[in-house]
Symmetry: C2
Subunit: 102 residues, 2 copies
């Protein structure tokens, strides 16, 4: 899908996780969002045809090459640690609400 399409999805979707299907850090974030009842779109970079290209594009755009790469309300959040830290600080649900994830 590469960067232009990734940016389009991020701009038009409340919650987007760039992910890999085999990655436990990615499943941790998906599980958290599911438990919170938030809708999200997961883009599995190991399955997409141009997953590598997208991952490089994301690295250039956000400075983050790793997965999970999480966006809420079009805003770059970070990875698994950043997302769970926000939740620990009580800030994740407000962000999700504002983004229309519920």
């Amino acid at each position: 899908m590469a960067l232009p399409k990734a940016k389009e999805i991020v701009d038009s979707t409340p919650v987007v996780i760039f992910s890999k299907t085999y990655c436990s850090y990615c499943s941790t974030v998906k599980k958290l969002l599911t438990e919170l009842g938030a809708s999200f779109k997961a883009i599995e970079l190991n399955v997409e045809d141009d997953g590598d290209e997208t991952q490089s594009g994301l690295a250039e755009w956000t400075g983050q090459r790793s997965v999970p790469n999480v966006f809420i309300g079009g805003k770059h959040i970070g990875g698994c640690d950043a997302t769970t830290a926000l939740h620990g600080a009580g800030k994740l649900v407000p962000l999700l609400t504002e983004a229309g994830a519920f």
Copy 2:
């Protein structure tokens, strides 16, 4: 390296982690052992020539296909969750001590 060599390493090394270099669950286990001061051998299956074959061999032998795949004192421990649960129950350090990891 495949299964025979993997078994040989498990039998002759106090602590062995079958791992992948890019995996945060694997780094979590390595970090824990390092913090405890335990020696360990990490076999990086995404780097080894026959990593896939070894991973399949381990699946057949232990019933576990995933990484990290942890052995202490020749005994199959499990993955990241199993290892951290043992530590939470105060059982990891005694196992490591018995295996000669310190």
